[in-house]
């Protein structure tokens, strides 16, 4: 209960009102924590609506809030239709197989997969898988690297210029190189994952590595001398020192870096998907743009909002993980 309340602060006064505690004051708290953000959103929607009706493009009027709602509905029903088609396709196959089995008991049934075009929801799924693969790969490299260079002032000085130079590089610059290298090295007749996926994933990884490396290294380097002295007096070896002292002490900074990395990863991914033609939200936006139907702008706007919402959700999830693993529960995390 307390954990649930922790994540939804506005629930607390609701619970209190339900218990009959201090009703008017708690009502005020609710208005403050829910009402004001709601009002902000409402004003934004109004401005957006007014502005949209005044912008005319070659593809028609700029989509307002109502177009976005309409297009979200369309995208969802397209998804449901596609799913129904798939279900029907499998049912037909199963029926056919059952019939053949009845006639010929030796027949080995085969089910061919359904190959419809990916729906909007599928594309969200692909994007999430790609971004998480790239991010996890980056973290697996960045955290150990950050710890190692944070522990040694010399290594830090050696790596710092390299990090500072690569940090501001845009994904657009990496992608051609990554594509060429992947085409040269990732050769297989029956690839486990498509090349476009590998390209996007590696580009994401290269771009989101740096915040985690830097923040982890800074966190490790700023561990108090007292704790290091304790470790020295106890003669902890390198590994024990890292596990018992360095890791817990640098968890807050490490997560600051990880959260920055994940938000960069998500931003980079959309650009990478556009260029790498990896089926995902980026490709969706690109395809709609190329399509140029009267619905396109509305659909792109749906994608823009989806991208924002997912980015926000990803950050919240990281925050929850941070709360869970960090020893310092009292630290303010935002």
């Amino acid at each position: 209960m307390t954990i649930a309340l922790h994540n939804m602060p506005w629930l607390e006064p609701v619970v209190k009102i339900a218990k009959g505690e201090n009703v008017s004051q708690n009502l005020q708290t609710i208005i403050k924590s829910v009402g004001i953000p709601l009002a902000g959103i409402l004003v934004f929607l109004m401005i957006w609506h007014a502005a949209a009706s005044n912008i005319n493009t070659s593809l028609g009027q700029f989509p307002g809030p109502s177009d976005v709602i309409e297009q979200s509905g369309n995208l969802l029903s397209e998804h449901n239709e596609e799913r129904q088609k798939a279900v029907a396709f499998y049912e037909r196959q199963e029926k056919r197989n059952a019939d053949r089995l009845a006639r010929d008991p030796d027949y080995v049934a085969k089910i061919r997969p359904y190959t419809g075009k990916p729906t909007y929801i599928d594309q969200i799924g692909t994007s999430l898988i790609t971004v998480l693969s790239g991010f996890i790969l980056a973290s697996l490299i960045a955290v150990p690297l950050g710890i190692v260079i944070g522990l040694s002032a010399n290594l830090y000085s050696a790596f710092n210029p390299i990090i500072q130079i690569f940090k501001p590089v845009s994904p657009l610059a990496w992608l051609p190189l990554v594509t060429m290298v992947v085409s040269a090295l990732y050769i297989s007749d029956d690839p486990l994952v498509p090349k476009s996926f590998v390209n996007s994933m590696i580009t994401v990884m290269l771009c989101c590595l740096w915040p985690t490396v830097i923040n982890t290294a800074v966190g490790v380097a700023s561990i108090s001398q007292d704790l290091k002295n304790v470790s020295m007096v106890l003669r902890l070896n390198y590994i024990t020192h890292v596990i018992k002292i360095v890791l817990p002490a640098s968890v807050p900074m490490m997560f600051t870096g990880l959260r920055l990395s994940l938000s960069i990863a998500w931003m980079v991914l959309i650009a990478a998907e556009m260029l790498a033609q990896n089926p995902g939200l980026g490709k969706f936006v690109w395809d709609e743009f190329q399509n140029g139907s009267s619905d396109s702008l509305g659909r792109i706007m749906v994608a823009v909002i989806t991208i924002g919402l997912i980015g926000f959700l990803l950050d919240r999830i990281m925050l929850m993980i941070q709360r869970f693993v960090s020893w310092d529960k009292s630290a303010t995390l935002r």
């Binding site: 007292d226 304790v230 020295m232 003669r235 020893w327």
Partner: protein, 287 residues
């Protein structure tokens, strides 16, 4: 008894941005098994530096430290340190903090159950069993310092090094901890080097008080033998002319012979002016 710990001609020079800075020179000291030594001196004279050299956290530029016939050149659990600001790992409970030390020192020597008993025994020595599963941020400053002492005692060190162990505590808590420490000392007979700013604490706890001259290039000025019999009782001693004589010796060393010239009031001065009325209303004349 034989000498356990010996400092011979210890000196140290720090490399600073403004060139080298000589902090200590010619420090000579022999400490016997079971002795309780206090280091006293004005702020910044080099007391922590001496302690850190013995701990192995700093390397002497000249001279050396020999413990049990072996030269000291790196830190180790046989020279356990109680740090001024407790230095507990904030993500571990009191028990786990002691456990980390015990596991490290007694790996392969004690069984799991024996280790548990030993950790609890040491927490009991400092009266911390009731809060042993609390984390440092959930206990008071005095309790943290007790856990720090338990952690050091649990390493069964040859020498216990304490850098102003009670410096950050209020007078009452400090008195409590001093009494606890005397009790523990009576039972375990550890060899202890303790830095203090508190003249009463030095006289009450020590067998010898090592008084340091002002830096730079500080060294040992005088050594005072405190041959008051143990167990010592702070209330009885407050009325004891010998006790006040020792206090006077230390005070006159600090404020007459090693008078601090700079304007920043040293912590020694503060600590003592604060405490005077509480502890010493009686025999000023005797000394």
């Amino acid at each position: 008894m034989n000498t356990l710990l010996e400092l011979t001609q210890v000196g140290i020079e720090f490399n600073t941005a403004k060139g080298s800075f000589r902090a200590l020179r010619d420090v000579n000291l022999k400490i016997k098994q079971g002795e309780y030594i206090s280091l006293i001196g004005h702020s910044g004279c080099g007391k922590s530096t001496v302690l850190n050299i013995v701990a192995g956290l700093l390397q002497a530029t000249e001279g050396g430290v020999v413990l049990n016939g072996k030269e000291v050149n790196e830190p180790g659990p046989e020279r356990a340190v109680v740090f001024q600001n407790h230095s507990l790992l904030p993500w571990l409970s009191a028990y786990q903090n002691v456990e980390l030390a015990v596991k490290q020192v007694f790996k392969g020597k004690k069984s799991r159950a024996e280790m548990k008993d030993w950790i609890e025994h040491n927490l009991e020595l400092v009266h911390m069993t009731h809060a042993m599963h609390k984390r440092p941020d959930e206990i008071s400053g005095g309790m943290k310092q007790r856990v720090g002492i338990a952690r050091a005692l649990a390493m069964e060190p040859d020498v216990l090094l304490m850098d102003e162990p009670f410096g950050a505590l209020d007078a009452l808590t400090r008195a409590h901890l001093q009494d606890s420490l005397m009790e523990i000392q009576r039972d375990l007979n550890n060899t202890v080097i303790m830095i203090t700013h508190d003249v009463d604490e030095a006289v009450l706890l020590s067998d010898r008080i090592v008084m340091m001259t002002n830096g730079p290039a500080a060294t040992i000025g005088e050594i005072l033998d405190v041959d008051l019999e143990r167990p010592r009782n702070r209330i009885e001693l407050a009325d004891d002319p010998r006790y006040n004589h020792f206090r006077h010796e230390v005070l006159s060393f600090l404020y007459e012979k090693q008078k601090k010239v700079d304007h920043t009031t040293s912590a020694v001065k503060k600590a003592n002016t604060e405490k005077k009325p509480a502890v010493k209303p009686v025999n000023e004349k005797v000394a």
